[in-house]
């Protein structure tokens, strides 16, 4: 205890900020919630001989609609901002971190290891190795669980994990034929060879190749698949619009109430300071009903309003072994417990990751749905969420497709994505995972629950789920 105090004294620069925050938090927490905390007496998920791994802090840049204030940046700039935010929040000495892992989906060719470029630019010691991972929309989940793995294996004690996505600019390539000509041009030795190569260029070769929006294996865009998925589970347009509206309303409420504490302010070079997500736009059912389907025309149900939008943003979390965190005087936010990755048919079950992941991770942790106090599911499309909820509520589906005896059940909506979700806050593919985990930690603290569940789907028909346990107060 004494050493802890000492440590926190040593970390003086952050102390005021911490103090202010925790004060604010206790002010806004209702008495009722406090009472709830005390009545909870669930067991902890700590296991003998398994290291306790904790989330110390999690931050993110504001998530902005792509093409807005961030439009002139590069991906590593955003990642840098998140890392710097994390440094400020935690005041961790720049050489204490053992490793940095970032997740991203669409790579900027110049900074293919965006983790390294961002870390260097954020002022971390150049002695900290960094790598970048990719796993579609669960890239930063993969970054975090890789960090968990490194710590559990005893290789590291403190790892920064994060994710970044920058959709304002994406690499657009020359056509394959043009690229071939250009590469041959490099090797051409004589003027004659060069001229004949140049002469071989046709107008058609100049048409550019955009980054694929479609699933490679099936050539189907995700929106199209989501629409089919919604139809397969009989999810109506109204249900989807209602869910989207709920997401936006809850996000707005959370933003107004200052609950989104993971958001850091970011002075965008050449622009203003950005400190809020700009995609939260609660509309009305009437307005939403006017929109035409975006993918399957004319009878589809997925529209621009009930899908997540293209977003720029970055996130970062500090993950440590509990011992190390305590030794450094940190008060961890939560334990990162069991996690699973799942994968299934990328055509007809592309977005059912949560359905497959949830029962599996609960089983691993020895929990049931009713044990979970906080749910944070990634909202790719309102239709996808509704389809997952219906799948989780179906014995037939569980038996026929998942080889399970019975359904896992649906999360109660009063515990589900209460501070908005990807539909409203935005969904920078590579960065969403860290936002989900940090939100669960914050909500557990705020609402006084003990267990939280993160679940997400990803392109390729993959999925992820993780159980998070509140850190005792």
């Amino acid at each position: 205890m004494a050493s802890m105090l000492l440590n926190s004294l040593r970390n003086c620069p952050v102390c005021p900020a911490w103090a202010v925050q925790s004060a604010a938090r206790s002010l806004s927490t209702t008495v009722q919630l406090q009472a709830q905390v005390q009545t909870k007496s669930k067991k902890t998920l700590a296991r003998p001989n398994v290291k306790n791994i904790v989330l110390v802090e999690g931050v993110r840049t504001p998530f902005l609609l792509s093409g807005t204030t961030y439009s002139d940046l590069m991906p590593h700039d955003l990642a840098r901002a998140a890392l710097q935010g994390l440094l400020h929040r935690t005041a961790i000495p720049k050489d204490v971190v053992d490793y940095i892992i970032y997740g991203t989906v669409i790579q900027e060719v110049k900074t293919s290891n965006v983790a390294r470029e961002a870390a260097l630019g954020a002022g971390f010691s150049d002695k900290i190795p960094s790598h970048t991972v990719t796993m579609a929309c669960i890239s930063s989940n993969q970054a975090m669980t890789s960090a968990v793995g490194l710590i559990a294996a005893g290789q590291c004690d403190a790892v920064v994990a994060g994710g970044v996505e920058f959709m304002s600019d994406v690499p657009i390539r020359h056509s394959r034929k043009m690229r071939k000509t250009m590469l041959s041009l490099n090797k051409a030795k004589t003027l004659g060879q060069r001229l004949s190569l140049l002469g071989s260029i046709r107008l058609a070769h100049l048409s550019p190749e955009l980054p694929a929006v479609a699933e490679f294996s099936t050539s189907e865009t995700m929106g199209h698949s989501a629409d089919r998925l919604a139809a397969a589970f009989g999810v109506s347009r109204v249900e989807q619009d209602e869910f989207a509206l709920r997401s936006h309303s809850l996000a707005k409420k959370a933003q107004d109430a200052g609950l989104l504490q993971d958001v850091i302010s970011f002075k965008v070079p050449g622009r203003d300071i950005v400190s809020q997500d700009n995609g939260i736009r609660p509309s009305s059912m009437e307005q939403m009903a006017k929109l035409k389907p975006a993918f399957i025309k004319p009878h589809g149900t997925v529209t621009a309003a009930n899908s997540s939008f293209l977003t720029d943003g970055a996130s970062a979390v500090l993950i440590m072994s509990e011992e190390k965190a305590l030794a450094m005087g940190y008060k961890p936010k939560a334990y990162l417990r069991d996690f699973v990755y799942v994968s299934q048919d990328p055509k007809d079950q592309l977005l059912l990751g949560p359905t497959y992941g949830t029962p599996k991770v609960l089983e691993r942790a020895g929990l049931t749905m009713s044990d979970i106090d906080v749910f944070e599911f990634h909202e790719a499309f309102a239709g996808q969420i509704m389809a997952n909820l219906k799948a989780m509520d179906s014995d037939w589906f569980a038996q026929t497709y998942m080889g399970r005896k019975s359904k896992v059940g649906t999360p109660p909506m009063d515990k589900f994505n209460l501070w908005g979700g990807s539909l409203s806050l935005g969904h920078p593919f590579g960065a969403t995972g860290c936002r989900l985990v940090t939100t669960v930690a914050h909500r557990l603290q705020k609402e006084g629950g003990q267990y939280g569940l993160v679940a997400a789907c990803a392109a390729g028909g993959q999925g992820h789920a993780m159980v998070i346990e509140a850190y005792p107060k």
Binding site: H224, R228, A231, A232, F233, G234, H299, A387, F397
Partner: protein
């Protein structure tokens, strides 16, 4: 029956009344094949033939449909209707063939056609819009039905195909198809559809204007994918029907520039006449005038467009009646039935399913067999002795699937995942897991024996050894085996991925389970299968050999290869005799001729085997060597007769006997030897039924489909007439034309027929 149905309806209504008390609001008419349910103001008419895997427009179906539609029209609560099939994978696969076959006269068939026309005319003029919701095959009368409806929605399922295959049965679309289709998709596309009979996938149908809207297939949800897809299709069709009633969905689409231009051009009689002429010319060139149906189709379309609907529909129904009674149509329908029969495993289910299949020899045949196997979920091992041979074989398999990718039949991902099931190798590793080995090595009994022994040392006890030989008796191959009950012949035809036939050869020792397993594998590979007894040349090669021997004689008698080809194609063979020899390979032909000559003696004589041998010695092995009867140049379609063979033919020149050398006689000399040998195969028990004989000859050797195979040909032509011709040739050439006993029996008793 009607009263019985009414009774049942009454019962049902009562039940509904008891349960929901909304009987008046939701009338529910239930037949066995067709029923309807009212959802709001839309009647959903559901069809499902409970007695069959597919829906056909049988008499029963038509009757119930008429009843239901009359109800729909008289029900004031109904504003529109949706027509849908609840059978997964099938909308309506066509008219009931048995119904047409059951008619005794052309007039009766014409009557049927007119009834169909009347029903569809009522549908077309329906005051309440009818939306056809199509999932699965929508063919023949099924297509004619939907094009009479006001609106068409189709699922993007691979099983959803639209088409008018009547021409393949020697018929024409006889329920308004020849009249409505040209108006809907334009003259050129309509001719293409009706004259080729090809299936059109949903996406293409949308582009052609054959359907208005497409619906995606769904994956698993709270119900099975098939069930939910049909439900989803129904939901969309209902919305659509309401949209049409509310005028939110227009029935006529604004015509594009191209369409307007095309219409303008088509408005000139001269242009249309030119089209009729071109199409007629093409049909004559391809069919040699041997198939009446395509010409009648052109006639009906022309009558409708140039003279108006009344003469058009009349021409359609009358021609339909006439066509149904032609021998060509009987032959083609016979083939259709035969094909269905030969797609069943009459030996029952094998004890063990073949999950790993090893193929020896990665040549054209071996690789071809691998190609048709690997995409059926069977782990396929392709073994060769040399790296270059293996590479060539694997490339052939890859190319086969890559071409499908280019045609968008499969995605590149599906291609890759299919090919992951293929293992190419030079050794016998993994053979211990093989359930079946098919050898496709060089046709030499010593090599076959060596291979068989090598394999039996490595394969598990249950593994079947199949030989893909075209002439070596299986008995002789099995002589080297430790377990002859597991040895069988599987004779594939080149190119394996295109030729539908598989000839399975059993010896007396082959066990029933071995046969069942071979047939099961063949069916999986998508083959039409005949199972024949063992003997030199089995069935197919044995029939072909005398015909080719005769062809060589004809060449020796001074008929040039082009003329020989023209005579054979003129009789209905898709490939001329000289070209066929080049395709098979002159070395193979020589080899087989010599082998079978030894086995069967002078009956297989005719042309001098030395002609073929000399050609092979000079390097003329047919298409594969670039020269045979013809000279083949890569990239050139036109080919010339190989000038060097004139010398050879000159050397072996025979003097033709003018009494048996007219064009017609030459044709019958070729065909009668083929047919006689086929009948002899049945007589000797090599064939177990005439059906298999017909299917084998048509699908394996290209026997004229319009004749329906050698046995149907004898039935139709008359055994006595054929024998008469053969006797005439026998006088000149001897025993090669001696009719076999079974053929003589049929000639002596005209009541004897191979097909009842």
């Amino acid at each position: 029956l009607l009263t019985k149905d009414r009774l049942r309806i009454g019962e049902l209504c009562c039940q509904i009344c008891l349960v929901t008390a909304c009987c008046l609001l939701c009338p529910y008419l239930a037949g066995t094949h067709v029923n309807y349910e009212v959802k709001g103001d839309v009647a959903v008419v559901r069809i499902n033939d409970p007695n069959s895997k597919v829906n056909t427009l049988s008499i029963q179906m038509q009757k119930e449909l008429t009843d239901v539609m009359n109800e729909v029209w008289s029900n004031n609560a109904v504003q529109s209707a949706v027509l849908i099939s609840t059978k997964p994978g099938c909308f309506i696969a066509g008219a009931d063939i048995n119904m047409i076959e059951g008619c005794k006269t052309a007039e009766e068939v014409t009557q049927l056609s007119q009834e169909g026309q009347n029903i569809f005319e009522k549908i077309e003029k329906s005051p309440k819009p009818i939306v056809a919701a199509i999932n699965g095959s929508c063919l023949g009368a099924g297509l004619e039905f939907v094009i009479a409806c006001q609106y068409r929605i189709a699922t993007k399922s691979k099983k959803t195909v639209l088409g008018t295959p009547e021409v393949m049965l020697g018929l024409l679309p006889g329920a308004g198809g020849t009249q409505r289709l040209p108006k809907m998709v334009g003259l050129p596309s309509a001719f293409d559809m009706m004259l080729t009979g090809r299936n059109i996938r949903a996406d293409k149908a949308k582009k052609m204007g054959l359907v208005h809207q497409l619906v995606d297939t769904l994956g698993p949800g709270l119900k099975s994918p098939e069930e939910r897809t049909i439900e989803y299709l129904e939901e969309i069709a209902i919305e659509c029907a309401r949209g049409i009633v509310n005028k939110k969905i227009p029935l006529s689409k604004e015509k594009g520039m191209m369409q307007k231009l095309q219409d303008y051009i088509m408005s000139f009689e001269m242009v249309r006449n030119q089209i009729y002429k071109t199409v007629h010319g093409k049909v004559m060139k391809q069919s040699k005038g041997l198939y009446p149906a395509p010409l009648k189709i052109i006639e009906c379309v022309k009558a409708g467009i140039e003279q108006g609907p009344i003469p058009g529909y009349l021409a359609e129904s009358q021609n339909f009646g006439q066509l149904a009674k032609t021998t060509e149509s009987h032959a083609l329908i016979g083939l259709y039935h035969g094909q269905v029969t030969c797609k069943k495993n009459r030996f029952g289910a094998p004890q063990k399913e073949v999950k790993t299949l090893a193929i020896l020899g990665a040549g054209l045949m071996g690789a071809g067999i691998a190609q048709v196997t690997v995409d059926k979920g069977v782990h396929t091992i392709l073994k060769d002795t040399t790296v270059s041979g293996l590479a060539r074989g694997e490339q052939q398999v890859f190319k086969g699937f890559n071409d499908k990718t280019k045609k968008r039949n499969i995605t590149s991902f599906e291609r890759d995942s299919i090919l992951s099931n293929l293992t190419g190798q030079l050794d016998y590793s993994g053979f211990e897991k093989a359930d079946m080995v098919i050898e496709a090595v060089f046709e030499d009994i010593n090599i076959k024996h060596k291979v068989l022994k090598e394999i039996e040392a490595v394969i598990p006890p249950h593994c079947i050894f199949a030989s893909n030989t075209s002439a070596l008796p299986i008995k002789e191959i099995a002589a080297a085996s430790k377990r002859p009950d597991k040895v069988i012949g599987m004779h594939y035809f080149s190119p394996v991925d295109k030729m539908q036939l598989l000839e399975i050869i059993t010896t007396e020792q082959t066990s029933k389970d071995t046969t069942a397993s071979a047939v099961a594998v063949g069916l999986k590979q998508g083959k039409v299968i005949i199972v024949v007894g063992d003997g030199p040349g089995f069935y197919t090669t044995r029939c072909l050999a005398p015909m080719l021997a005769e062809a060589v004689r004809v060449l020796q008698e001074g008929v040039d290869p082009k003329k020989l080809d023209a005579l054979t194609t003129g009789f209905g063979f898709p490939v001329g005799a000289a070209t066929l020899a080049d395709e098979v390979g002159l070395d193979v032909a020589a080899h087989v001729a010599e082998d079978l000559g030894k086995a069967f003696g002078s009956r297989f004589g005719g042309g001098n085997v030395e002609v073929l041998k000399t050609m092979v010695d000079m390097g003329f092995k047919g298409r594969k060597s670039g020269k045979g009867c013809y000279v083949y140049q890569p990239g050139l379609k036109v080919r010339d007769v190989n000038p060097d063979i004139e010398e050879i033919l000159e050397k072996y020149k025979m003097t033709p006997n003018p009494a048996v050398s007219s064009d017609s006689d030459v044709q019958y000399r070729l065909v009668s030897r083929f047919v006689n040998e086929a009948v002899l195969c049945l007589q000797e028990g090599i064939l177990s039924s005439p059906v298999e004989g017909d299917i084998g000859a048509v699908f394996g050797l290209g026997f004229p489909p319009c004749l329906g195979g050698p046995f149907r040909f004898v039935d139709a032509f008359g055994a006595d007439k054929l024998v008469e011709k053969m006797r005439r040739y026998e006088e000149v050439y001897g025993n090669q034309f001696t009719p076999c006993q079974l053929l003589l029996d049929h000639a002596n008793d005209s009541s004897k027929k191979f097909h009842k």
